[in-house]
């Protein structure tokens, strides 16, 4: 029995890496991919997507890996710039949402029963309208554009993370070492900074990483609908909604590659977040 087990283990660790190390490496690779996309997207100059009527409607080739659109713009450059824009918007949205979740979650757990009731009611309020409808409503309020979408994303993604943080803080608060700390006369602020916050940090980071994909997907969805970023920006949502007009002409590359890239980016984030969670949780990191 035991020798056969050993053989299997050896087979599994062909590259002499255990699962933990493999997770670590995939995370780093995903992170490198993300950073590259963002940096390249920022560095690419506008000339790459300048109108060039000679090279119109080209199918993918070596010169233009993703083909060109009806104005002769290189789809590869547009896609990369769009992705970097998406990641930027997603970053702002996710940071804002995480901050709201942190503040409200902490407040619900520490500021007494009334605050707790109020905040859980607020969470229910935001969960009771479909995300996309809320986003449309908020985008409409701000008349569309960058501001509307960022505020909308911030205001719609915090509820589930706030719930997690609230439960976590409640648990820590009733732990014995916190009770003792309180008995020894430490102030509330001291306890919050030295006992509660360090425990929350991994939760917040993971929540942030796992929120990111949703934020990006919602951003591109609202932009696709036409209530998000303005049509002049090279956003993925814009590219895809423009491509709809040319689909029946058989120009599949306009929609296929940008969407695929968005999918890859979202998955990279998801992978990092999941791996992060597994690596940080000692009970799970070994299975």
């Amino acid at each position: 029995m035991i020798p056969s087990l050993k053989v299997r283990n050896k087979e599994e660790s062909r590259f002499f890496l255990n699962r933990r190390q493999r997770k670590f490496i995939t995370s780093i690779l995903s992170a490198i991919l993300l950073v590259t996309v963002v940096v390249v997207g920022v560095l690419l100059d506008e000339e790459r997507i300048a109108t060039n009527l000679i090279t119109r409607n080209l199918a993918p080739s070596l010169d233009h890996p993703f083909g060109t659109d009806w104005l002769g713009r290189d789809m590869f450059a547009r896609t990369i710039m769009g992705l970097s824009l998406s990641v930027g918007v997603g970053l702002i949205g996710a940071i804002g949402s995480t901050s709201i979740a942190l503040i409200l979650g902490m407040a619900a757990a520490t500021m007494g029963k009334v605050a707790d009731r109020l905040i859980s009611w607020l969470i229910d309020l935001f969960l009771s309208v479909p995300h996309l409808v809320t986003l449309i409503l908020i985008a409409f309020t701000f008349g569309g554009g960058f501001k509307g979408i960022v505020i909308g994303l911030m205001l719609t993604h915090w509820p589930s993370l706030a719930r997690v943080i609230r439960a976590e803080v409640m648990q820590i608060r009733s732990a014995e070492y916190v009770q003792i700390s309180r008995q020894m006369g430490k102030s509330k602020w001291w306890i919050a900074v030295h006992h509660i916050l360090p425990h929350l940090t991994p939760q917040i980071l993971i929540g942030f990483m796992l929120m990111f994909p949703h934020v990006i997907l919602h951003e591109s969805a609202v932009t696709f609908i036409g209530l998000g970023l303005s049509p002049h920006e090279p956003a993925i949502g814009i590219i895809l909604s423009e491509s709809m007009k040319y689909l029946s002409a058989g120009m599949w590359w306009l929609a296929f590659f940008p969407g695929l890239c968005l999918l890859l980016i979202v998955q990279a984030f998801d992978r990092i977040g999941e791996n992060f969670r597994l690596l940080m949780d000692p009970t799970k990191s070994n299975d």
Partner: protein, 333 residues
């Protein structure tokens, strides 16, 4: 005993209803304020292309007629009291009562969402069960990979792919809309409608499968690790019989509940799918209302979608409450 349960469910429903009521009032108020602060001027949106033909006096008349010149609170109370009387106002795009528009669109959307809901639920459940029963085999890996990939796929991109493959390349299905172009409303057959329904419904189902499948897999893996399954295996049960006798009832309930609780995502997905396929449903109406500044329709849709989501959550809670005796017991303590 039975009477007791009935009464408890009544109280449970009452409490839920009260909570719903407070939420609904708040949503009405907040969305009203949001819409009021929009830079899109309702009169401008109403006039639209006839801008040159409408003078300032006429604008004032419209404003007065609509009561736009009154304070916000008065407007809200006017709107709210009309709402209570069942009057949602008149849609500016369709020039018809909002309730009519929503009713008509909802039937279209309902067919779409129901098809997608049932399909994704059943397929997802089966996938989750297969994946858990065959844990750590290649089929499990494929299903897991599929679900994780699908979870990060943009719905509208999936719709576009379906369009490219099945409508443009293969030409099996029409490119969009709910009915054929150039055919009178009376001549539209059920077959036509179904033909136009398939692609959006399939798109929504493909995306919706992931959640249920992963959840069911997780639950069933837990069940299969339990002592009673170990004992059943020791008695010689295996395969489908084992699942039928010990697994099904344990995993079916969470899956059904999850499906009901996912109404919010279903609605969001329907908005995108309808937009891609130009399917004349609620989602498309929402987008149109947002883009063209049709305030009454937008508000009506927000309220309606809230009801829709709430109904899903309520059914989910109720199923758990009625079917699973454990939740009742914990409430008594």
């Amino acid at each position: 005993m039975r009477k007791n349960v009935g009464r408890k469910i009544g109280i449970f429903l009452l409490l839920k209803g009260l909570r719903m009521l407070t939420l609904l009032v708040a949503i009405c108020f907040i969305s009203f304020l949001l819409v009021k602060n929009s830079p899109i001027d309702p009169i401008q949106a109403y006039i639209g292309a006839d801008m040159l033909k409408v003078g300032p006096e006429q604008r004032e008349k419209i404003a007065e007629y609509w009561g736009v010149d009154q304070p916000v609170m008065v407007q809200f109370l006017n709107w709210g009291s009309a709402l209570l009387a069942g009057d949602l106002g008149t849609s500016m795009i369709f020039r018809r009562p909002v309730a009519d528009v929503i009713g008509e669109r909802f039937i279209n959307s309902l067919v779409l969402m129901l098809t997608a809901w049932v399909l994704s639920g059943v397929i997802g459940f089966v996938m989750g069960v297969v994946s858990a029963m065959k844990k750590d085999t290649w089929i499990d890996r494929i299903i897991k990979w599929y679900c994780y990939t699908l979870a990060s796929t943009p719905t509208f991109w999936m719709g576009l792919l379906m369009l490219i493959v099945f409508a443009v390349w293969l030409g099996w299905f029409p490119i969009g809309l709910g009915v054929p172009v150039g055919v009178l409303a009376e001549d539209v057959t059920i077959a036509n409608r179904i033909e136009h329904l398939i692609l959006p419904a399939v798109t929504l189902s493909i995306i919706g499968v992931a959640n249920v499948a992963l959840h069911t897999r997780q639950k069933l893996v837990e069940v299969l690790a339990s002592d009673y399954v170990l004992f059943a295996r020791a008695r010689g049960e295996r395969g489908f019989t084992l699942f039928w006798r010990h697994g099904l009832r344990n995993v079916a309930l969470p899956a059904i509940t999850l499906q009901f609780a996912a109404f919010s995502e279903l609605f969001g997905g329907a908005v995108l799918a309808e937009q891609v396929f130009s399917y004349p449903g609620l989602g498309q109406a929402t987008v149109e209302a947002g883009l063209r500044g049709d305030v009454p329709l937008l508000l009506g849709l927000v309220i309606f979608s809230t009801f829709f989501v709430f109904a899903g959550n309520l059914i989910a809670d109720l199923i758990y409450y009625v079917v699973d005796p454990r939740t009742r017991e914990s409430r008594m303590l």
